[in-house]
């Protein structure tokens, strides 16, 4: 009897223990089952009760004095700290409290550390990040930031605040994504602040097609490339009005002696291409109108940055106030300060400059060791940086990256894959030491134009258009950044990496940057268009946008006595600039052609179209299909395989060229003996879209909002659709001021009225709490979709018991 009892017990104990072990172990995509489902520790803990009480009193180690956070009904925190730096400490704490997972994930991604979390499938991504020099760039920035006593204090306070939250984080409170992916956060540090800045810098300045264009040089001449990728579009309306006089250049870069015979000549160019290029649509709108144009006589400032619109949002709205600061706006969880916003004296906003600050060089290594490369007629030693990449579920991976005078070697025989032929080094402005977070911090404190101009000087990369308006009535815009002075055509193609004369030769000085202060036309504005016309004395290549800027300028020119409604209307303006330029011309071509049946119905729809990309109409879809089909008919015979590589002319190029010259050389289909005319191609491409449009109609995807299917993906992407929001009923699109595309667009919208007591109207596609189980996770999405705004509640001393305040968090220094 006894042995049997014992056996039964042991068996039961083993089974129970085994079950516990299995349920405490993640398998593939399945998290540790028991832990995950445990109501005490698992995902249920992230089921935030509706109407949760956020009141809190907490001692925090590292805080210098008392600090209070007043949370309003949208969960927007209004921080008041009695001691300097404490406002930043509390900001760090709040970022971590509401957005910890995303800030760590984004900085891990920047550093090329995703394999640590999801294993081998991220290895190529991580290697690419490291070979791009993301870590190298962040380390350079960290040194520069920490050498600045003020920024050292600010960053230390921010980091201490983030860690104050992480250090007391319980297993139960771990954000959902950690539980899904079975890992834990590490402590924050100042390097991560730099990494976050570099992640954003990559988004906004690492779009480059040097490699693709070099491949194209084996098919086209440089003159043909100028037609496909023109420097300036004829209908450009630059940020700085045409006719502005520029001073002669202070730096005159000398083209290398063999630029024409070697660099611009056809050469075989087989190489790897960057795998995850930033979205070229990352752009923005901003403008400020002066008192001469407003009802109140005071300026108004507007900004809507277009970034990937993910959940949780990249933005976190907040106000920071203390003895020397009172600033409201949008912050990036991951860095201290407010990025876009206003204070008691000024308001500011940013758009991307789209300037090209990334060039590529072909490197000739002596041998497989890649420790020496040919440079100015001799072998030069390349520094080796060993990248150690942790990989979940397998051994640590080591990648050796050679660093040359031109920068890190991004592609060589070892990456990506084996045997890519050429070795390519990347020279990126973001590698150089800089202190962008300081620019934001100084802007947060700026009181006037001089403070603003001084603040933005610290902003080097990515180049931005800083728009400015002040209570005293000043409005201004500077295109700010550290821009290399390039000789004509420099850096458009891969340059010889064995000749120092191809290096960047100097920088355009701050004073020479395109800027405007209180212009006679009463406004300043930018929509990522080329900042200046051809009279600017430097060669400034970039991936500029044409039509948004054009539309904004037209509307602002026409405004008088403007009010809040006019600003909201313009941010939500659905006018399609490309259609405005192209459609009247295309329709006039079709006048001569008879259409029947469905084609007739579609044609009528287009004729009656008001050119607005409104969500519930089909004309925007028809136009988009038609223009795409037209481009394919014109270019694809010549561009062929290059299109698959991602090289394609910008959309305005075709219509801008044809309107200038109906015999645009690429119209003829080189695959057919006869010579096609523009009219034939226009009619044919229209006929081509009829079956496509019919198919879309059958699938209920022809209406613009359905065709576009605007979606806010979770940061982990389309694999986690339950945490995303899809099928938003919104209009807008590319070439539209309301720049909402599929998953990219106005990620933060702000209108600031500087009359009387400054008021602001804001919204973003997301919510303040990054927890997918919180009612605040996607709280603002409907308001944003409807093109509406929230009036920002602004804290002032004495408003502590205002009805707008729902909860208070009190923080005291801990002993």
């Amino acid at each position: 009897m006894k042995p049997l009892r014992l056996l039964a017990f042991l068996l039961s104990l083993i089974v129970t223990t085994l079950l516990a072990y299995v349920m405490n172990t993640p398998f593939g995509k399945i998290p540790a089952w028991g832990k995950f489902f445990s109501p005490h520790q698992g995902f249920w803990q992230q089921a935030e009760p509706v109407g949760k009480d956020f009141n809190l009193t907490l001692p925090l180690k590292g805080l210098k004095g008392e600090a209070t956070v007043y949370l309003d009904e949208r969960l927007v925190p209004h921080v008041y700290a009695e001691q300097q730096e404490d406002a930043v400490f509390v900001q760090g704490y709040l970022h971590a409290r509401f957005r910890l997972w995303q800030m760590e994930f984004q900085t891990h991604a920047a550093a090329g550390r995703i394999s640590e979390i999801i294993g081998e499938k991220a290895l190529d991504y991580d290697r690419q990040q490291r070979r791009l020099g993301m870590g190298f760039a962040a380390e350079n920035m960290l040194r520069e930031m920490e050498a600045d006593p003020m920024m050292k204090k600010i960053c230390d306070a921010y980091t201490a605040g983030v860690n104050a939250y992480i250090d007391q984080l319980s297993e139960a409170d771990l954000p959902l994504e950690y539980k899904l992916l079975s890992y834990h956060p590490e402590r924050w540090n100042n390097l991560k602040i730099a990494l976050f800045v570099k992640a954003m810098t990559k988004n906004l300045s690492a779009y480059s097609d040097d490699l693709e264009r070099s491949m194209a040089l084996s098919v086209f001449t440089d003159d043909q490339m100028k037609l496909l990728f023109p420097d300036i579009d004829p209908s450009l309306d630059p940020i700085i009005p045409k006719g502005t006089l520029f001073t002669p250049p202070t730096v005159v870069p000398q083209p290398p002696a063999d630029a024409d015979s070697v660099y611009l000549r056809k050469h075989a160019m087989a190489t790897a291409l960057m795998q995850d290029k930033p979205d070229p649509e990352n752009g923005s709108n901003n403008w400020a109108i002066g008192g001469s144009k407003t009802k109140t006589g005071a300026p108004m400032l507007c900004n809507d940055p277009h970034l990937k619109m993910s959940l949780p949002s990249v933005w976190y709205e907040m106000e920071m106030s203390g003895p020397d600061i009172n600033v409201y706006g949008s912050s990036f969880p991951g860095i201290p300060g407010i990025v876009i916003g206003f204070n008691d004296h000024i308001a500011w906003g940013v758009t991307n400059s789209e300037r090209d600050v990334m060039d590529h060089y072909e490197i000739r290594f002596k041998d497989e060791q890649r420790s020496e490369y040919w440079y100015n007629g001799t072998w030069k030693a390349a520094q080796q940086r060993i990248e150690k990449i942790g990989v979940k579920g397998s051994a640590v991976f080591y990648d050796t990256v050679a660093y040359t005078v031109f920068g890190p070697v991004i592609f060589d025989d070892r990456f990506p894959g084996e045997g890519n032929g050429k070795s390519i080094a990347v020279r990126w402005k973001a590698h150089d030491p800089s202190n962008e977070a300081k620019a934001f911090w100084l802007l947060n404190h700026a009181k006037n134009y001089a403070d603003y101009e001084n603040a933005i000087k610290y902003f080097e990369c990515p180049g931005q258009n800083f728009v400015f308006a002040a209570k005293n009535g000043d409005i201004a815009l500077w295109q700010q950044g550290a821009f290399p002075a390039k000789w004509n055509r420099q850096g458009l193609y891969v340059m010889p990496g064995w000749d120092s004369s191809y290096l960047w030769q100097g920088e355009i000085s701050h004073e020479e940057h395109p800027h405007d202060l209180n212009p006679a036309r009463g406004f300043v504005a930018s929509g990522n268009q080329r900042p200046v016309d051809s009279s600017y004395p430097y060669f400034i290549p970039g991936s500029y946008y044409l039509y948004r800027g054009l539309r904004i300028n037209r509307v602002l020119e026409g405004l008088t006595n403007a009010g809040l409604g006019d600003m909201m209307r313009l941010q939500n303006d659905n006018y399609n600039g490309l259609a405005g330029a192209a459609l009247p011309h295309l329709l006039s071509v079709m006048e001569k052609k008879a259409t029947f049946g469905e084609a007739r119905a579609f044609m009528d729809t287009l004729r009656q179209w008001n050119l607005n990309n409104d969500p519930h109409t089909i004309a925007p879809t028809l136009f988009t299909l038609w223009y795409d089909s037209l481009e394919a008919a014109v270019y694809d015979d010549e561009l062929g395989a290059l299109k698959e590589k991602g090289l394609y002319p910008a959309e305005p190029t075709l219509i801008e060229s044809v309107l200038q010259n109906p015999d645009f050389v690429f119209i003829d289909n080189v695959r057919t003996p006869e010579k096609e005319t523009w009219d034939q191609i226009v009619a044919q491409s229209f006929r081509n879209i009829i079956p496509v449009a019919n198919q879309l109609g059958n699938k209920k995807q022809l209406v613009w909002k359905d065709y576009k299917n605007t979606t806010l993906y979770h940061l982990l992407g389309p694999t986690l659709m339950p945490l995303a929001v899809a099928h938003l009923p919104v209009g807008g699109g590319k070439h539209v001021v309301n720049a909402i595309q599929h998953d990219q667009g106005p990620s933060w919208k702000m209108i600031v009225d500087l009359s009387g007591e400054t008021s602001a109207y804001v919204v973003y596609p997301g919510g303040q709490n990054g927890n997918p189980g919180s009612p605040y996770y996607q709280q603002f999405v409907d308001t944003w979709s409807n093109g509406r705004y929230y009036k920002a509640w602004v804290y002032k001393k004495g408003k502590e018991n205002d009805a707008a305040i729902k909860w208070k968090m009190h923080f005291q220094p801990a002993g």
């Binding site: 009892r5 104990l13 129970t16 509706v50 997918p772 189980g773």
Partner: protein, 118 residues
């Protein structure tokens, strides 16, 4: 019957407290000890442990789900079961707890058997 009822209540109480202070699997040793002291036949012990943990985890999940207006449970059930089924998710939670609870209770009751005989 009454003994079983009291055991279930004790089980719920102890497992609830252990859940707050110990990792999720902390309930296993706690329940083994509990059932080693309560005189229940192994089959009954399993049933009590199963029922108790089914109720505890199920009710906790239900309460959190209702308070959360099913926001999260819809998302999580879609991730794991491809449909918005809050009730299913609560059921899975309850069964997960119940299985571990039942086995722990069984082990405890069997341990008691060894002691009694020796």
């Amino acid at each position: 019957m009454l003994k079983g009822f009291i055991t279930i209540l004790l089980n719920i109480l102890l497992a609830y407290i252990s859940g707050i202070f110990l990792p999720w699997w902390g309930m296993i040793p706690v329940l083994i000890l509990l059932y080693a002291f309560v005189a229940l036949k192994p089959g009954w012990a399993f049933l009590c442990g199963f029922m108790a943990m089914f109720l505890l985890w199920g009710l906790l999940a239900l309460q959190m789900d209702v308070a959360n207006n099913h926001l999260l449970s819809k998302k999580i059930s879609t991730i794991f079961f491809q449909k918005e089924a809050s009730t299913l998710l609560i059921l899975v939670t309850a069964l997960t707890g119940a299985l571990v609870g039942g086995l722990s209770a069984l082990t405890g009751a069997l341990a008691r058997g060894i002691r009694k005989v020796s």
